[in-house]
């Protein structure tokens, strides 16, 4: 007897796949960017250099840096994913 419960496994919808992939891959990219950036720059020194003591401290600097990178990367990933998915179908005569 074929046990239908387990055939084919569960499947995420395309939108769910897209969101999860965009969020996760941009998270990884942002982690790398954050490490590279803060290996060179110390948030406290940055704030001192630009005379911008915005009261977030060093830890806040790291966190904001990370979320900033994450946002940029996620935006970039999302637009890429959207463009790829909504690209016009190939011309039938020119395939």
């Amino acid at each position: 007897m074929v046990n239908e419960e387990y055939r084919g496994a569960r499947k995420w919808s395309r939108n769910k796949q897209a969101v999860a992939t965009v969020v996760w891959i941009s998270f990884l990219a942002a982690a790398v960017a954050t490490m590279l950036f803060f290996a060179v720059f110390d948030p406290t020194e940055l704030m001192a250099t630009f005379d911008a003591d915005i009261g977030i401290g060093q830890q806040g600097g790291y966190a904001i840096g990370f979320f900033f990178f994450w946002m940029i990367c996620a935006g970039c990933s999302a637009i890429t994913a959207w463009l790829v998915r909504t690209a016009p179908k190939r011309d039938a005569n020119n395939r």
Partner: protein, 463 residues
């Protein structure tokens, strides 16, 4: 209906069904034991490492506030970041090497996603019972029993996730102090945030998303096949031996009935954490956890058939050839790994444990002092990367008659410290005009071979 149509139909249906929960069935066997061992070892390491000490300090600590990385006896600075990147590259090539050799070993036994999922499934089994009990419980209407079982599962999951988040933060700030702070309810906002963030990610990934992460979100799962060839170890169903599959009594002579060794018990499908049927061939969802091998072996033992209907093998072996372990691909990955490792060790062994930074004072080009003297100001930073205090000679060169003011003959820098020193370089007006290149150098007093030279500029009046 033909056999093929029967097996194909439910698969086509599944494409149109919404996400269906997979209830992996528990299984004992050689590979289950191995996986249990890997889970204990890896999770044990993760939770224990922050508590290890090395000379009065945490053995492994990425001290973000102080911007220093402690790796056992080694102290790494942001300037040593290249070593970390190098280590990551080595990790990547190690992964390629083992993928080419033995397939998705990483996925099945070592990936954090697998390891934490395994731990979460254990907790699920303790509270909700076996696979069939879990399925029944999910279908049943809410009752005191269901609430109690689901509630205790959530309690275990959440407690475990919180501990995971706490441990994670413990890699970035001293874990003992963090524990004290938490008990005193005196934790910084960001610390709390990162702990909860990581804890929540663990909870979501290992409790709910599970195999979906591997299927949809993992880049490695997509490109690992590029490292595969016909000699890579894969988990495979021996179709020649197994087909035609079919149920039968133990007493039945399978040759007389024209049956293969597969009794179509579905156990290999039920134990699969990604919910695939290994008998349909190698699929990219397969994370090579080998649960199906254990399942099939247990059935083969019961039927008194030889083990290995589902087994670790290679394409070549399946086609009756022999598996070649030493092949060009292995030499390329192995060779690159060896080169990277040699370079890293050489570089670390010969690195000078001092860093010199020279920053010219940007506010003024130069100053004219009485007696026709031209002066430039600099901030010198000497970073002593070793763990012991050290004294250095500071010198400047490049312009006739250039002298330093503000620096003692010998400057002492404590172990692991950064010394920031404002100094002024002076020379007579006759020697200075325009932009001139100069060099600063520090030499360790106790060891002449420890010398660091750094370029800078000296500005004088332009006639």
């Amino acid at each position: 209906m033909s056999k093929a149509a029967q097996t194909d139909q439910p698969r086509a249906v599944a494409l149109y069904e919404s996400a269906k929960k997979i209830y992996p069935r528990e299984i004992d066997g050689r590979f289950a034991s191995l996986s249990k061992l890997a889970t204990y070892a890896l999770l044990g390491l993760f939770y224990a490492v922050p508590w290890l000490m090395w000379d009065e300090r945490q053995a492994i600590l990425f001290d973000l506030p102080a911007r220093k990385f402690y790796l056992l006896g080694l102290t790494l600075w942001p300037q040593d970041f290249i070593y970390l990147a190098w280590l990551l590259m080595m990790a990547a090539f190690t992964l390629f090497f083992f993928t080419a050799l033995a397939g998705r070993l990483w996925c099945g036994f070592a990936c954090p996603q697998t390891v934490w999922t395994e731990a979460f499934i254990w907790m699920e089994q303790w509270t909700e019972g076996t696979r069939s009990q879990r399925m029944k419980l999910d279908k049943a209407p809410w009752s005191w029993n269901k609430l109690r079982r689901k509630g205790s599962k959530q309690f275990l999951w959440i407690a475990f996730s919180l501990w995971t988040g706490f441990t994670f933060v413990g890699y970035f700030m001293p874990v003992r102090q963090l524990g004290v702070d938490i008990l005193a309810l005196n934790v910084g906002g960001w610390t709390l945030f990162w702990g909860l963030f990581y804890g929540f990610a663990t909870y979501g990934n290992a409790g709910y998303m599970r195999e979906q992460v591997c299927k949809y979100m993992c880049p490695y799962a997509r490109f690992q096949s590029a490292m595969f060839d016909n000699d890579t170890l894969i988990i495979s169903y021996d179709e020649k031996r197994g087909e035609p599959r079919g149920g039968r009594k133990r007493s039945v002579d399978r040759e007389k009935e024209g049956l293969g060794d597969c009794i179509d018990c579905q156990l290999c499908v039920q134990v699969c954490p990604t919910g695939i049927d290994i008998r349909e061939g190698l699929q990219y969802e397969c994370i090579a956890c080998a649960a199906c091998i254990d399942a099939c072996d247990s059935i083969m033992d019961k039927m008194e058939y030889p083990r290995g209907l589902v087994r670790y093998t290679t394409e070549h072996a399946m086609q009756g050839g022999t598996t070649k372990v030493l092949r060009p691909r292995m030499f390329v990955y192995g060779g690159l790994l060896a080169v990277l490792m040699t370079a890293l060790i050489t570089s670390m062994a010969t690195r000078t444990p001092v860093i010199l930074d020279v920053i010219r004072d940007r506010n003024t080009l130069y100053r004219e002092l009485p007696g026709d003297v031209i002066e430039n100001s600099y901030t010198i930073k000497i970073i002593n990367q070793s763990n012991d205090a050290r004294s250095f000679h500071l010198a400047v060169d490049g312009v006739t008659g250039l002298t330093l003011d503000g620096a003692a003959d010998e400057v002492a820098v404590a172990g692991g410290e950064v010394l920031s020193l404002p100094v002024r370089a002076r020379t007579h007006r006759d020697n200075a005009y325009g932009i001139m290149n100069i060099t600063f150098s520090v030499t360790a007093v106790d060891d002449d071979s420890v010398v660091i030279v750094e370029d800078s500029r000296f500005l004088g009046p332009t006639p």
